[in-house]
Symmetry: D2
Subunit: 265 residues, 4 copies
């Protein structure tokens, strides 16, 4: 089966890219499953709304993943328990976190488990992603070998470490969060597909999606600043696609995707 | 000369403690100079307003210092250049930061320099407090030997390190920011007075001044939370006083102060 | 029952303080149980050896707790599973960590559970101390109401948060790690005793036990440095004692202790 | 002029890649200047020796840059003041840091300034790279418009921010430190070339150059670990080349390079 993964969708332009260009991209790549990280999808660039989730599903997305910005729009607490295909990092505290950290997708009679986990290096104090992923993957193996993980993390070492740790037990690990696509898509020794970061989707000419001035000023003056999403210029859609052997769960092919809006039409 | 220093004033109750109890405390301790950290003085517990600054001055405060929350109420950008006795950490970026990082106070013909610096360990990326303090202290020595520093920092090691580094060159270093008074007031070998943290002023029964539930929930669920200042219960006023030899600038005595409102009346 | 707790023992001088002065201190305070944090007890100031553990037990210590430096002397991996009264933070990863995170002490027919946990703010990515402590305390309540916790943490907010979270469920929470004693020993509303930090035991004139030059130089030049334990000057012993009602587990009295060697003789 | 930049050289295999494959790569790319980041070049993967520096120069390197590991082999303190083309991050503390942070290279009568700076987000507390770079670039403009910067940093936001801040004032900013090449080489609006990270040079099959087991175990057990450089498997050489207009200093072309040893022969 072929899985298309799209990295952090930022702001109105990001959602617009999903609505306008994802259908064209799917026609070209022909994935069976499309997963999109939506942690920055509101017009503020932080969190997601129910309406945006629904627009993504209508545009052909099968699963929406999140990250450290999952709760930035706190309306999510009202709808996350009712949205079947919206998942948040599995390793938020078990006792206190609504929603779920993975979902199963039916693909022509096979099942694909889509997992969302978050790293801890330079990030929030979540539960141990290594121990929990190990446990969860063992459980999911009773149902399917096809397992895809969006690992939302800052440090390249933690991203590669979890992929190597799960190598052979999971189909693919694709990183998100840095908003910059890496050039290291590859298949690890035990056949797990890996990409350190998928990159972002939305305004191409900003600072990771934001207006440059506010971000630069934050560095220059070290005062708190509210970053605003850039609303002008070119759009970009970034991600990768992965071919998974439905029987073994092995990745047979992984390739990055990065297109600006003028390239897609 | 005797300097009274009061640690981080939090919220309405903190400002109320300054207005109601500081005059009584001053009658007892009889300081020539009173310095108060006001970085948490708004009703939100973050930043300061012009009106609060003025109320503090009317209540007998001579200098107000700040810290990492200096800019949380961004109206400060409008008035900090006009307030003679409101200082912010000296080591914010020189090119882009309004206001000033120290001020001189006349004490019966002697001058006391009051300095505000901020640490970097686990905090913002400010300029080097060690190098800048060294430079500034050398400059001030042309005018006076009496120099008091509010060092706003998280790590005990950085607080003690700057005090030992400046030992003999400065009259006293008193730490702020943790909101918990430490039990280590002492005079260092070269006669610099030192206290790791002065503690906070305001609601005694909260979590460093905030409502306990919101802070605890932040730890339990790892989601963003807006902390609210506690408005009920006892108030506390924390700080220390320091006797400085006006000639040598040496500290001859340093003692912590911590009183709840029922103790002061 | 009365529990004496002694904060981070640093280096040879720290161990010497335990051997020479703890017996005298115990004669004065008359605790039924003595707990000592030994995470810095080697001559390097990091970790503990089997021999030092045994010397502490011979000197009248009942339980030795640890912290982030638990594994700095990696010989501990050989002996921690055989040392009945040496505990390490409970919330290190369950699957991979030898030793145990709590122990039961018999006190005249009552049982005292001694727990060691570590914070996460500005520290290692351990498992959730709030969730795990809640679970463990519920389990221990089947046996006893008397529960003491050494919470090894950096941030004052996390220390107070766990104490408030466990208020009424546990007898006392005493913080360690900053090596500076705080001035806030008190009984929380539901009768849990609390002290943000117990302070350190060992060289009084250094930088948290270390030679000042190396620590100051680290701040001045930002290059890696090996800190060395100070071997000269006065020694200090810091901690607190707590009176616990054996039936209810409530703290009825808590008081800090801090003595330099000249004060004890 | 064409500049070839090679990202963090790790361990013996990394140095071997420079000696064996750099000459071939240069024949193909034909750069006038070759700059290599050598912060991980010792057999331990941390720091550099004089002998390795000399071997790099003999292999056709013109300038060696460093990063947070600059001082890991502390012999560098003995030779860095005598090595003309070994530079360390400019924004280490001015008063206490040996060596220099930039160097000038003669290229057919034009001058290229090669700068090394380090980021602060999630890293050491160095001096402000934005303020210092601005100042230094202004000074260098008196001599040349051709300025290349190796910006050694963790966070994608800081890397892009400094590049946007210097856009039009400097020829190119290339990031290092994450050891993973990014897929975003481009020319910014004011003609500054940019690449978030050049990637690493050395063992291709490890964890950013290190043996996977030790790194994974560090995540699993949260205990201190000494990472060892991987000495087997394929080697990789990563970087980029940049064409700079010698008159204007503008980048006219930037392209990533990543080759494993089997591809180069
Ligand atoms: Fe994101
Ligand atoms: Fe994120
Ligand atoms: Fe504060
Ligand atoms: Fe603060
Ligand atoms: Fe310690
Ligand atoms: Fe510690
Ligand atoms: Fe490196
Ligand atoms: Fe590095």
């Amino acid at each position: 089966m072929r899985v298309l993964f799209i990295g952090d969708v930022v702001g109105n332009m990001g959602v617009h890219m999903i609505e306008s260009y994802l259908p064209k991209l799917k026609q070209e790549i022909k994935p069976q499953v499309t997963v999109v990280n939506g942690e920055n999808a509101t017009s503020m660039g932080r969190g997601i709304t129910l309406s945006i989730y629904k627009r993504m599903m209508s545009a052909g997305v099968d699963v929406v993943t999140l990250g450290n910005h999952a709760w930035s729009n706190n309306e999510i607490l009202d709808f996350i328990d009712d949205t079947k295909r919206l998942i948040r990092p599995y390793n938020f505290p078990k006792r206190t976190t609504p929603g779920k950290g993975y979902t199963m997708v039916n693909v022509n009679g096979s099942q694909l488990a889509v997992l969302n986990f978050q790293g801890r290096v330079f990030m929030d104090n979540l539960d141990d992603p290594f121990a929990l992923a190990d446990e969860l993957v063992t459980e999911i193996h009773k149902t399917t070998n096809c397992i895809f993980m969006d690992f939302h993390a800052e440090a390249t070492s933690e991203k590669l470490a979890i992929a190597r740790y799960l190598d052979g037990k999971i189909s693919a690990v694709v990183g998100t969060h840095t908003h910059v696509q890496t050039n290291d898509a590859r298949i690890l020794p035990q056949k797990t597909g890996f990409l350190t970061d998928a990159g972002m989707t939305g305004p191409a000419d900003g600072m990771l999606g934001m207006k440059p001035e506010s971000v630069i000023n934050r560095f220059l003056n070290q005062r708190p600043a509210r970053f605003e999403v850039l609303e002008t210029g070119r759009g970009i859609i970034s991600g990768c696609y992965i071919d998974i052997d439905s029987k073994t769960g092995h990745t047979t092919h992984i390739k990055t995707v990065m297109l600006s809006d003028d390239q897609i039409n």
